[in-house]
Structures are given as C-alpha cells and as structure tokens.
Amino acid sequence: MHRILEIISDLFVGWFYKKTAGYGALTDDDARINNLAVALGFAASACDGQMSEEEIHTIESWAKTNITTSNDTRNFHKAMTATKAFFHAGNNIDCSGICREITVKSPLAHRYRIIELCMKVVSADGIAKASELEFLRNLFIWLELNHTTVAMMMETFVPVNIQETPDAEFILGLDESMSEQDRYEKLNREYKKWNGRVTNNDNSIRIQAKKMIELISLLRNNSTANIAQRI
C-alpha cells in the first residue's frame, strides 16, 4: 500500500504544495484525500484482475479534474504510469486502511465523491463483475456511508442490468437489522419507484427497471415464504 501512496504523494502532493504554498491544514488534507481517492480508483479497477482502458480513462479524467491542471502534465502522467504498473504487477493496497484515514480527514460529501469515482470505474467497461461489486460493498462499509444514498448512487452509476451477480439486498438498501415490516415497506417503496420507470422513454432505463422489479419480487417472495414457514 505504502509504495503506491508514496508514488502518488511524491508526484501529486509534491506538485500541489508548490502551487499552494501557505494553505492551511484542511487543504493539505484535501490534496491527500484526492490522491487516496485515485489509489482507491485503481484498486477498484484492479480488483477483478483486469484493468481495462475504459477504467483507466475514467480514473485519469477524475484525477485531471481533481488533482492536476493542464500546464503540469508531466508529473501527472509519470504518476499515472507508475500507478498503473504497480497494479498491473499484481500488487495491492490496504483499502480499509486508506478508508480509515479518509473517514478521519474528510467530510461526508468527499467520501461520496470517492465511492462515485469507484462506481464509475467498475461500470466503465459495461459490466460490473462480482469482485467489483464486492469491492464497492466493502468501500461503503469502510467509508461509513449511508446505505440509502449509496443505493441511489448505484442506480445511477452501476445499474442492475450491468451487474454480473446483483446483490439485491445491497442494491435496495436492505440490511439484517430491519424488521420484517420495515423490509416489506422498503420493498413496496422500491417497487413503486421502479414500476413507475418501466415505461420510461429510454430503453436502458426500461431494462434496468424490469430487472429491479424481478429482484424486488423475489425478495418479497423470500420474505413471505420465511414468514409462512415460521407460522
């Protein structure tokens, strides 16, 4: 983990200090958080053992917008190349440790930006594999985010129809602590929402909505069966 962070820090943070000498601690943290976000983006890309061009491009665009400026591209490209090589070689980083640092230093809004980047990365090649979805689930826990908000972000950035093995509970924002009544109500709300989208003018949304309706009705069916069994 530390090697990649050092690379990123040396190149990106070094550049940042030069440009922003005299900034306070919060800005220093912002720079560091953005670098850590890039590292997580790469980890998201590498977690299925393949780093596609589309995924790298997504990370690069995010990094360009959030870390560098157009007149300082040399160090930026150097950092990108080194980071790509690091992950291509099969190395990995301690994502939970990085997230721990992020949760201490960064406000909630920044943490949502980071998971958004990772969502965009895993969906960039048009399919979100099981390992990538597992990565996002972990990230949501490590970054201490709100399940409902993350579920809504998943709708937008990782639609169910591109998910290789959809985890219905995670997608719908359900968790084990919910009572049966709460689950029913939540499922009803989700059903209402997606049922209203099955006639959307956009075909991809219609497909997403039909898939979501299938998932919701299966969950409801499982809940009903469990209750019947208990009775």
Binding site: R197, N203, R220
Partner: protein, 516 residues
C-alpha cells in the same frame, strides 16, 4: 342516432358492448356467436388481403406462426415494435386496429353502424399508450369519444347493477396487465381514490411458467429440445394456458406432450403451479399495499373487493385476497365482460356531456343518475435547478406540480425563480413521472419563455398546471413582474405518433385488407 358502444381491447381477449334502448349495456357476440374474441391476428397465406382475427387466428398459429400475432397490447406505444408481413411493417397501433375492426364489423352486422365508442385501457397506461389506443380506434373507422380505465369501467358496471356502498377495491388481473383501483362508492356516485398497476403482469406470464416447466421436463426425460420451431412454441404456449385453466378447476392437470424424440406424460399439481407463480402474485400484493398506502387506508377499511379479468379465476388469487381482507372477493359480475359493459356506460355518459341530442331519451334516462369522479393518472411536473442540500451544488431535478391521484378537475401552482442576471429566456420542460431524478421521468413537452431584458436574478415565475375531466392538461408559465405568460395545452392528441394525415393514409391502406 348511431349505436353507442364500449370496447374492452384486451391483451388476450376483447369484447364489445352497446347501450340498449333504456341505457343498459349488453355484450354483442362475434360472428362465431362468442361473447369475447381472442385478440389474435393471422395473415392468411393463400389470400394476402385477408386477415383473420379471433379463434381462427389462434388455430392458424400452429400452421404458420410467423404470420400470426398475439399480445399486441403489451407493445402499445412502443415505437420500435413492428411485425413484418409480406414486406409491410405492421405497428402495434395498426395491429390493434384490426382487432377493433373485427369487433366493429361483427357488431355492426346485427346492430347497425357502430361509430361512437369508448375504449378501455389499463389504469396505469401513460398518455402515449392511451393515445396509441385512440389512434387504433380511428384507424378502425371508429369515432373514439373517450378512453376509460378498465377498473373504473368495471366499477361503473358493478355500481349500476348492484346496490353498493363503501370503499371498493377493484382487482383487475387480465391476460397481460394488472390494475388495482380503490374507490368510494355510494349508490351511483363513484369517486376514484387511486390506482396502481403493472402492464406486464397477467395470464400470459403465468402460462409462461407452465410452458417453461413442460420444456424443462421434456429436456430432462429425452435430453432433447421439445421446441424446434415457432409453431411448436405457439402450440405449447396454448397447452400451457390450457393446463392453467384446468388447474383452476382441479387439483392436478395431466397432458400428453408429443415431441420429436418421444411422448411425455406431463403432470402438474395446483400446489406446484401456485408455487411457481408466487413471485408474480407477490407483485400484485405489493401493488395492493402501495394503493392502500396512497389511499391512506388499511385492508380492514375496504368493504368489498371486486374481481375483474380472467386470471382472477385462479383459486390462489381469491384465497390470497380472502387472507388479506378477511372476506371473500365479489364474483357476482362476469370478469370477462364487465369492462366492456362499463365502457359502454361511460360512452353514454360522455356523449351526454358532449352533446345530449346525440343520446336517445331512453338511454339518457338510464344513465342520468350515474356520477363518476376520476383522478389524475400520473404526476406532472417540470425540470428546475435547485441547490442540492447535501452537496450545496446546483443540480437539475424534476419538481412535481400536479400529483397523481388528485381528483379531477384539478389545478396546482408553484413558484420558481430565474437563475441569472439578465436571463433572456427560460427553458421549460414539462414532465410526466414522480421521480426527482430527471433521467427517470418522461419529457412530454419542451418550450421556451422569453424574458424582459436587464433584470436581476431570482425574478419569480409562477407555474400553474390544470387537468380537466376530458384529460386535457393546461400549463401556464408566468413571469410575475412583466405578466408575460406562456400557455401550453396538452391534450391526448399531443402524444400521438400519427398525425391526422397519416391516420387518413393508413386508414386507406388498411381498407385494402379484408378482416374476417
């Protein structure tokens, strides 16, 4: 005076009824003497100008399924759907018009010219689908004076034939669609409270589960595929439907399946069948829960459950409703016919409100006491750019102005503000849907409102939407300071995929075909 009729244009079956001389609706049998007509079409092989609609079309599917079409209703409003027969691409509207033409022809043969009709649609159909249904009627040479929601039509008929009062829930599970509607009924006064529905939940989905089971069993026994052609597929779809119907009467259904590798004795118990469709019925249960919540009611507040649609014959449907509401659902009206019968009553009421001279005194007398109050079927709003509370950034969001289930006629106003100094115009997008996220709502109109020059930001814009009893929406966007106003009228015609000229041309094309 022409005959006033109501048509139930169903996914699997259709029916037509007329108002008799004293304003009572009656079903008109087709030329085969059947009271309902399969919504199936077959393009004759020997005579390309002949199109068969009904039972003959069903039977012909086994001979040449490529020339047959069923379940068109599922594709209403879908621009990408068409069926190519002899080089002509038939749209869902054109295909539906053939079914309507057959109904009209058979009815006219005995009762004179049928012209003014109301056609029923599922309650959850959006404007595009409603308009597509109207266009199909026009292509069939009908004067479509209105569209009525299927559960409302059923309730109209029910209330006109029985003494009813209290909160009624109409459970409409047909061949291809499901609707649940809650209404308050006091004698002949019917006030709709809310509707929910799914346009891909019905008999054909239940049949599919049996069909899949047959195919699976055959594969298991013979390690070979049962389905080797479209005709095989058509045949076993109908076998599956037959098994489903048997299971509504008996505990077990048995069928010999004659495949190319050998014969299979297929058996299915009612219990296994009910298990196989339980997730689909759970969807119907969820929609009931949602409708009850929208109506601010619980199951114990419902006084009666009225069944509509052939799929409600399944014992499991009736048992589930009994378990939920604590009483057996009402089965005193014919589930296949009540929608068409109610549509005819609505046609009479509509004609009376439009031009009472078109309705005979006898009919007017029969209908005069019926009073129906409907609600808005969808939410309508506009796109705006508020500041997101969480991120503090400006986002594009959909803001609902007129909410679904508001009693008609209705009107609602909201204030918005210009965003920039010297803003010269406002981009106005009218939406249909409840989502705040603009990606998930349909944009139904796009207009621009020019603004006076040299003004600061945050000038107020008053947006008012109203919706009348004839399903016409009026929107006004007023710059409060200058009184400059943009008025937008949206009737169902706005959603047409065909203009009048195209309808005329298509009608001429279709006139060349003989529907039998």
């Amino acid at each position: 005076m022409s005959t006033i009729a109501g048509i139930d244009l169903g996914t699997t079956f259709s029916a037509i009824s007329i108002l008799n001389s004293i304003g009572k609706p009656e079903i008109l049998p087709n030329s085969d003497g059947e009271r309902i007509t399969p919504s199936a079409i077959f393009f004759d092989e020997e005579n390309p100008d002949i199109i068969r609609v009904g039972i003959e079309a069903i039977n012909s599917r086994y001979i040449n399924s490529k020339r047959s079409v069923r379940w068109v209703k599922r594709h209403m409003g879908d621009n990408n759907y068409s069926v190519n027969i002899d080089g002509k691409n038939w749209t869902a509207v054109e295909l539906s018009s053939l079914i309507l033409k057959k109904l009209k022809q058979d009815a006219s043969a005995e009762h004179g010219q049928i012209k003014d009709v109301v056609i029923s649609v599922p309650a959850h159909f959006d404007e595009v689908r409603r308009k597509a249904t109207m266009d199909a009627g026009k292509l069939a040479g009908l004067n479509v004076i209105g569209i009525i929601n299927e559960p409302v039509a059923a309730a109209l008929y029910y209330a006109s034939t029985q003494t009813v009062s209290g909160k009624i829930m109409v459970y409409d599970l047909g061949g291809g669609t499901f609707d649940v509607t809650i209404m308050n009924v006091e004698g002949n006064n019917i006030n709709i409270i809310c509707s929910q529905g799914n346009h891909e939940l019905g008999g054909i989905d239940f049949d599919k589960r049996i069909y899949e089971k047959i195919v699976e069993c055959y594969k298991e026994q013979y390690k070979d595929s049962l389905i080797n052609s479209d005709e095989d597929s058509a045949k076993y779809e109908d076998e599956a439907e037959d098994i489903k119907k048997t299971l509504s009467r008996r505990e077990i259904a048995k069928k010999m399946i004659y495949g190319s590798s050998g014969n299979l004795r297929f058996e299915m118990t009612r219990e296994d069948y009910e298990k196989s469709i339980s997730d689909l019925l759970d969807q119907a249960d969820m929609l009931i829960d949602i409708a009850l919540e929208e109506a601010n009611l619980s199951a114990k507040d419902i006084d009666k459950v009225l069944l509509v649609g052939g799929s409600t014959r399944m014992p499991v449907v009736q048992q589930r409703l009994k378990d939920k509401f604590g009483f057996a659902p009402e089965i005193s009206v014919n589930v296949d016919e009540c929608v068409a019968l109610g549509a005819a009553i609505h046609a009479g009421l509509t004609l009376m409100s439009q031009d009472s001279t078109k309705v005979s005194a006898g009919i007017a007398g029969g209908l005069s006491s019926i009073n129906l109050k409907d609600v808005c079927n969808h939410s309508y709003g506009t796109l705006c750019a508020p500041i997101d509370r969480e991120t503090g950034q400006r986002i594009i969001a959909n803001r609902v102005i007129l909410s679904k289930n508001t009693v008609l006629p209705c009107q609602a106003t909201q204030m918005f503000y210009t965003m920039e100094e010297n803003q010269s115009e406002i981009e106005i997008i009218i939406t249909q849907g409840e989502d705040a996220d603009p990606r998930f709502v349909n944009r139904i109109a796009h207009k621009k409102l020019k603004l006076p020059k040299n003004r600061p930001a945050k000038c107020p814009i008053r947006v008012t939407y109203s919706y009348d009893l004839n399903q016409r929406m009026h929107c006004s966007f007023e710059d409060v300071e200058s009184n400059k106003t943009l008025e937008v009228d949206l009737s169902l015609d706005e959603f047409s995929q065909l203009d009048e000229k195209q309808i005329e041309e298509n009608s001429k094309d279709l006139a060349g075909f003989c529907v039998k």
